[in-house]
Symmetry: D2
């Protein structure tokens, strides 16, 4: 209930502050006999890792994970998978100024108000470092989905005002990893990278949008009426730091349309269930076999290299200037996090569906 678990049957519980001994978690409900490919997990985590490219933070966090239980001779055993990711880069000095002053648009203020205490070092629990645990667990979820022929691929579709205008169906998603910004369209990617570099040079940050496509999801996932698949996907990705919006299929643009334009008619004798897919692969909260696709809006990173007004714990006006190394734009590194949350959601619903079959 305290918010550190995700999923009902395939359930991830995480713990850890950015500057504590380690972050980590437990995956409970993983089916037995899943082959655990640690190299794959490590690759997924490298995609989220700080310091991976010239447009991310220069911090060199070591995201080496240790699996402590639940895997025996390379396979899951059905018992809980405990894991930790030790924290190596604990230069607390970088964060001394935030002990008393609240960083604008960060969680310092609300944690203090809610709990009456706060591990102020590096944002503590509210740091995005926590998402490393999501990527770890998401990698295992992806291994389960892969066996079903189901893939989850996200990419950056907008950085600031630079938009990738093409729909995903016109993109080659295998090229997402070709650019450091994780946009599969090389031309747009170049513009995005330039923008990020420009913004960074100004000591500023910029927001962006990530789009995600799920192919091959089993038909029947999603539990009406409250746990509709897209409702759970919305929650899953909106729980990632810095998110401001979610849309499935036609999304907000669909609101401007008429039913006769928007409806996806069913087709017989086809590889597809429906002739179009404005629904985004989900009908009545249940996957229908078409591609599931959605987008997630991220605000600009709150930590900027400029002096800002704020208040301190005592309630007095003061100013704050960020120190340390921070991302000028979160979306390139958030791509694997979005995929992880989507994969966790799908596997959870897969297990839920199996329970009534």
């Amino acid at each position: 209930m305290a918010g550190n678990s995700y999923g009902q049957l395939f359930r991830l519980t995480t713990f850890g502050e950015s500057h504590g001994t380690a972050i980590g978690g437990v995956i409970d409900g993983c089916p037995p006999l899943i082959s655990i490919d640690e190299d794959f997990i490590a690759k997924e985590m490298a995609r989220r890792k700080p310091g991976q490219s010239s447009i991310t933070t220069g911090r060199a966090e070591d995201d080496a994970f240790q699996i402590l239980s639940g895997v025996f001779e390379g396979k899951t055993t059905g018992t809980p998978i405990g894991f930790i990711i030790p924290n190596k880069d604990q230069r607390s000095a970088d964060y001394g100024t935030i002990k008393d002053a609240y960083r604008p648009s960060h969680a310092d203020y609300t944690y203090d108000k809610k709990y009456g205490v706060r591990d102020y070092r590096g944002g503590g629990r509210s740091s995005a470092r926590e998402t490393a645990c999501r990527v770890f667990a998401g990698a295992i979820a992806k291994l389960i989905l892969k066996d079903l022929g189901c893939t989850v691929d996200a990419y950056v579709s907008q950085v600031g005002t630079i938009k990738l205008e093409k729909p995903y169906t016109e993109l080659d998603l295998s090229k997402t990893e070709d650019t450091i910004v994780r946009c599969p369209d090389a031309e747009t990617a170049a513009k995005m990278i330039s923008l990020i570099e420009e913004v960074r040079a100004e000591g500023d940050t910029v927001g962006g949008i990530i789009s995600c496509v799920i192919k091959g999801a089993p038909v029947g996932l999603g539990e009406p009426v409250f746990d509709k698949l897209h409702a759970d996907l919305a929650k899953a990705v909106m729980s990632i730091n810095a998110t401001k919006g979610f849309e499935l299929g036609s999304g907000f643009a669909g609101s401007a349309m008429r039913g006769s334009q928007h409806n996806d008619v069913f087709v017989a004798n086809s590889d597809h269930i429906t002739a179009t897919n404005r629904s985004g692969g989900i009908l009545g909260g249940i996957s229908n076999g078409e591609d599931i696709y959605f987008s997630v809006a991220f605000k600009p990173v709150a930590t900027i290299m400029q002096k800002q007004d704020t208040v301190n714990k005592a309630g007095n006006a003061t100013t704050i200037t960020a120190e340390g190394r921070h991302d000028p734009c979160v979306v390139p590194r958030a791509v694997p996090i979005v995929e992880a949350m989507a994969a966790l959601t799908l596997v959870d619903h897969l297990l839920r569906y199996k329970s009534i079959q």
Copy 2:
């Protein structure tokens, strides 16, 4: 786990098909000694009720509720509140054609695939009639919030291409109920109504957007890291039929901004916590005391009065034409549903917060 419950501590479980004997539910976890104002509940339900105006469906469902337990001498007792809403309008004949053919962009197909069986009468469980139970429970949640000085007010901010361009801070939300379309700006409302009438005359439907504003929410609601308040709000409203998107505060537009423009600086000695509120009242997943505001996109109603291609249960091509009376646009009646889901989410988080205080 089967998706018919919402909330962890203030928990609504619903049941019922559109053409069964009754729909209803149970609210478990309601604190004792809450005065139950049945007139208020009835008013809330009337706002969702079919047949309420010239731009909604002409079906005259009777949404009279019966409280079966949990209330004694006008007050809650801490025991579960059981309630039913009998189904009166059961003209199954209207729905005969959908027994075998799948209505485009409806849940008929996915229910059949998931469960292998389907109560096809009026959409059965997938009918939006189910949302009457949400409004009932949401009304009780609102009564709890009212005692804390917290209000939840939604309104229609877009119908098709007709947008209310003003931010909520420039609107008088007390006027929302003045127009049948539930848009507080009279001029825009008139255009919306015209559009809905035009669309209906064509046998078509149109989508829309609902915006919602929560004032006076207690500071400290929201459970990081997975049950962030906005993640739970997203899930709550995305579980309403026909939703396609959610955005909090600056939303998708915020993705185009820079950190220096977007950050909300804290201010001392003010009625406000922050000088601006692009965050939408939530920082790090926890309410900060500023207004919480968000928008929800709805697709056009899938049931149109036009012949559509589809397939039948046997997988063969066929056509389908809707019969009966249906809404040309869902958003006017969905306003109280959005409010209800928001109120349920807030009260649930209120109880969760109280548990650690």
Copy 3:
């Protein structure tokens, strides 16, 4: 969280006070396409019904149930099964004296302290009338188990000091319903009935023990480490009114034994997994295919027809004398309740097991 739901995947939520309009509930997570035999359900409920024999309360409650949803053309649809059992016998006058004075060994006092309010009519929510909902849901669980060849049979093994000394393996459980006391051994049953009649004549009550045998349970049910099958069975039956103890297999007597006497050795080429079954069919919290058997202790009914000392709401000494008609011994009517809770537990664990298969 508020305690009115049981089960994780096959989940019963109940509501209702003894003298309200109705009691009822929702079963969420029932697999689709289960044939609902309403006659069987009615028979099960008749076994719990007040006024069924000369040794039970003379109250003639009408336990007619109405299924409101989730069943279509005689089969479950996978959607929630809502049901109500209207309260007919609402002679509140019988209960007037308990409005202010706390009945000894009843829940009046603790409800008042916990909630600050109490529906005092007939015990309100704390009345055993609530168990009718358990029997309803348990009957559906039994229908699911029957298809798997799994049976759940309970019987009265002790009333006061009258004990049925034979182990269940020497009994013919098909004879349980032959006597009104539900003891399958006719001779012991006669003694039990005499004792109950004697006790009633004195205006007193007496306790008893119910034993339960589950045959044909699938191997693999139970989720270590916390949700061991016997831990969940213990909780399930200990949640029934008036229970004071639970033991599985060898139980408390097993504590006096040595390992060399107590261990159940595995046997090859046999109808049985183990040569003996002191474990009670569960090893490490998981069913092993042998019979599961356990016993449940019930205290004497707290409502006696004798004047008792007590205190009133104001904290002053007073006396109370029961009125109305009450059971002199609860165990004959509790037999189907024990079976119901066991069946609900098994089906819940069955669905949990299926989720990882």
Copy 4:
């Protein structure tokens, strides 16, 4: 749902096999600002530790714990408390013979059947080593209860046929730790120790009973109707390895009594709520302020130093003889485990109660 979490609001999730890298867990929902006394936690863990006395196993497991998160400057922060207990004694050679043959009355067989795979080293997940995590978490729960003036004290009341006949009210529970068998009555303790030594000399084991007394529990804990306090206590302790029975207050003996003997009448102007306490401090599932007391039956340890018949994975008859060092009787070391599960249950219910206050 997979069984490795306990508690709803104060929630412990554990992981780990006896011979893996580490065991550990996460406590989610711990209120902030609780002072964490690591010395106290270490003392509690030492009470459970193997090799602590001449009547326990000679294995010298090192139960040193590491708190990885959730505690800052000595106090809890409201974020999850992650912890690990590294496994030091991993002499797998001792357990080689159990790779293929199923140990009688152990979980080897059922784990293999349920999961299709099993970490056979030392019992893997089914080993009682897992309970070290419960004692860790229980110690934190006790720290919370201590601040409320609530204590949880268990002791050994029976070993084999040696019974401590006195009720807890005639015992000085401060003497429990004075004897290595954890029986507060010196004379009985001496007999118990002799019996355990005798049994061990024979290569055999013996069962026993632990009784537990909770003083000062707040009034109002327990959530009717399914999560009655004693139902949750029953589940909590029945989830400990080797348990066979639970009884509250008068327990099984109460079944032989009459209502007029058994009822606890309320008393005015007294330190007590009721004149007697056969109810065991719980009425209608809710604590009433009187002492809560219960007993738990443990079977004899299944691992005996004698040759036993069994079958192997292939289903063929074979024999097995235990190697390594094992406890001849589990109850002396299980005392802190019973206390831990009781404390976790109380704190969980405390937080649940606070949510509606």
